[in-house]
């Protein structure tokens, strides 16, 4: 009896082992080795006042990596019905926003949040999206493709399409040195999109040039600058608490008083709180950079303010009460001239020189 059990066991083990050889062969796709792979490092010119650009060691920047990401970013192949790309909601000349209150995906479903500027995202190391739900550009790049209110595709079908596509076979090969089209994956696509987004930098505005001593602000903008950053002997507009130079954001999540609630559970969109589970974070959203603010209307995470004047008036009012409204949002007494000066300063934060980089603009044009 013992012997027969032993025999059966041996038979089963051998059978299982033999089945390994019966597995369906992996479809490697077409060979790509005839395409030259000679990656060249891409060196980003970071503005001198900016923090060090920290690049993941497993996703160093290369020209071909960025080029692949650039193509994917502008290609409607990313959406289920091939009608929308990332660039449908992120226009380069609008600091990569879409000038809509909230964006609409391929199914015509409006989202609840405004399209974020993608400029200087490489330095947002405290969480991306309005609610900070992902920690890296590589993670971020995976999400909009499958989001039902954005591109509403699925990665398996998208990768199938890309593997069949001669242009992308070449671009993936050149970017990552893969040998067969079957090695094209969503992870590599996301890496390339991250590389592309990482080089979108803006830091040569009139404001920056003035700090460097190579240009100067108008008297009105200078007065606004002094108020913005609370220089002594000027009226304080309290802006710099959250919008600190050089990034013009403090990289945190705050409740700026645009929604009044009595109870922290009353926020319809809990924002950062939905991520952390801390009720005190409910209704908090990423403090956006004010760089290129001239180009990114309407304002706030839900696009509720059409103009900068409305934004300034909101902050002057001290915002709507709520238990976790940021303590720095307090009523201000700015007159019309001071408001105009503040706006004049905000308009000096525009810099779209990134559009001069052919690796950033639409490659299909």
């Amino acid at each position: 009896m013992k012997l027969s059990l032993f025999g059966i066991s041996i038979f089963i083990v051998l059978s299982l082992g033999a089945c390994k050889d019966c597995e369906e062969p992996v479809d490697l796709g077409v060979s790509l080795t005839h395409i030259e792979y000679s990656p060249e490092s891409y060196s980003v010119e970071v503005f001198p006042e900016f923090p060090v650009l920290e690049i993941p060691s497993d996703n160093e920047l290369t020209y071909d990596g960025i080029r692949l990401g650039q193509h994917l970013f502008f290609d409607p192949i990313l959406s289920a019905d091939s009608t929308m790309s990332c660039s449908s909601c992120h226009f380069p000349d609008k600091a990569f926003t879409d000038n809509l209150g909230v964006s609409t995906g391929i199914d015509g479903i409006a989202g609840t949040r405004s399209s974020m500027s993608l400029v200087n995202q490489a330095f947002y190391n405290t969480g991306l999206f309005w609610d900070g739900r992902v920690g890296s550009l590589e993670e971020q790049a995976l999400l909009p493709v499958e989001d039902p209110i954005e591109l509403h595709n699925n990665w398996i079908e998208l990768i199938d399409k890309l593997q069949e596509h001669e242009l992308y076979q070449e671009l993936f090969r050149k970017a990552f040195g893969i040998e067969h089209s079957g090695e094209m994956t969503k992870e590599l696509a996301a890496k390339s999109l991250a590389q592309y987004q990482r080089i979108i930098l803006s830091g040569n505005s009139l404001f920056d040039q003035t700090l460097r001593g190579t240009s100067s602000l108008s008297d009105e903008a200078l007065e606004g600058f002094n108020m913005f950053f609370d220089f002594p002997d000027t009226k304080d507009a309290e802006c710099g608490h959250c919008h600190q130079s050089p990034l013009m954001t403090d990289n945190t999540f705050k409740n700026n008083g645009i929604t009044g609630v009595e109870d922290l559970d009353d926020y319809v969109d809990k924002g950062f709180g939905a991520l952390t589970g801390n009720p005190l974070d409910n209704g908090k959203f990423r403090v956006p950079s004010l760089r290129n603010i001239e180009l990114t209307a309407p304002y706030m995470h839900d696009g509720r303010f059409e103009t900068l004047e409305e934004v300034i008036d909101h902050y002057i009012s001290g915002g709507h009460p709520s238990p976790n409204k940021d303590p720095q949002i307090i009523p201000l007494t700015l007159n019309e001239v001071e408001k105009a000066n503040l706006k004049a300063f905000l308009l000096t934060l525009t810099d779209t020189s990134y559009l001069d980089n052919e690796l950033i603009t639409n490659p299909f044009n």
Binding site: F50, G240, T252
Partner: protein, 239 residues
């Protein structure tokens, strides 16, 4: 000769590896009037209004143990972040642990640290530091002062915001807390350091009227801010 040198080197290495070292954990606990500080909860304040605190954090620097006149530096800069810790009673009781190791075993008589960024480092900017450094926080630098913000203390009084932001070399303070601390080999000694937030608000014997003066960060009006940073010495206690 070579063998002798090698032998001496081996002995030296052995002695180095045998030196007795332990660690100390500074357990910072935030309280308000002796009770664990839970951010967002109503706190008794002046007779006509209550407050809630929403933010309390600060840099500590040149963290050291003392032994007589000897100062043993543990860390150049660290950050005590009650803001992202004290949102539940459980967290408030547990506090924040900052642990420093490789300390020679022995008995020490106190802890010394600065509140803020010392003048030698206050000439730098957040952009000078990698994101792993506490000094990289972009929201803790004030362009107009050319200074790091040393501490943030903020909340609401009857629904209205108030805040204290300290900074500039004039407001850097160093404190020594006397306490016998015994470091033993391969062990971590814990020192509980309590910061009572109500004590920070006592100016000239009475609580500061934060409704009357909600914004306190003007380098030209250092009075309230000096009071505030000086209060740390009475607001800290060690167990």
């Amino acid at each position: 000769m070579k063998l002798r040198i090698l032998g001496l080197f081996a002995i030296a290495t052995l002695m180095a590896s045998c030196s007795e070292e332990g660690a100390v954990s500074l357990n910072f606990v935030g309280t308000y009037d002796g009770e664990p500080l839970v951010l967002g909860e109503s706190l008794s304040y002046l007779p006509d209004y209550e407050i809630s605190l929403l933010e309390s954090d600060f840099y500590i620097s040149e963290v050291a143990l003392t032994r007589g006149s000897e100062v043993i530096t543990l860390k150049d800069i660290d950050f005590v972040d009650f803001t992202n810790n004290n949102f539940t009673l459980e967290n408030a009781i547990a506090g924040i642990n900052l642990t420093y190791d490789e300390i020679e075993a022995g008995t020490y008589d106190g802890i010394r640290f600065g509140i803020g960024v010392p003048p030698s480092q206050n000439t730098t900017r957040p952009a000078d530091y990698p994101s792993s450094s506490p000094l990289s926080k972009p929201g803790y630098y004030w362009l107009a002062w050319e200074s790091f913000i040393f501490s943030k203390f903020a909340g609401q009084a009857d629904g209205n915001g108030f805040f204290f932001h300290t900074g500039t070399d004039e407001l850097f303070r160093t404190f020594t807390i006397s306490k016998d601390i015994v470091i033993t080999e391969d062990n971590t000694s814990t020192v509980k350091i309590i910061l009572d937030h109500k004590d920070l608000m006592v100016f000239d014997g009475s609580l500061y009227d934060v409704k009357a003066v909600p914004a306190n960060h003007d380098p030209l009006e250092l009075g309230p801010l000096e009071n505030f940073v000086n209060n740390y010495s009475s607001a800290f206690s060690a167990q």
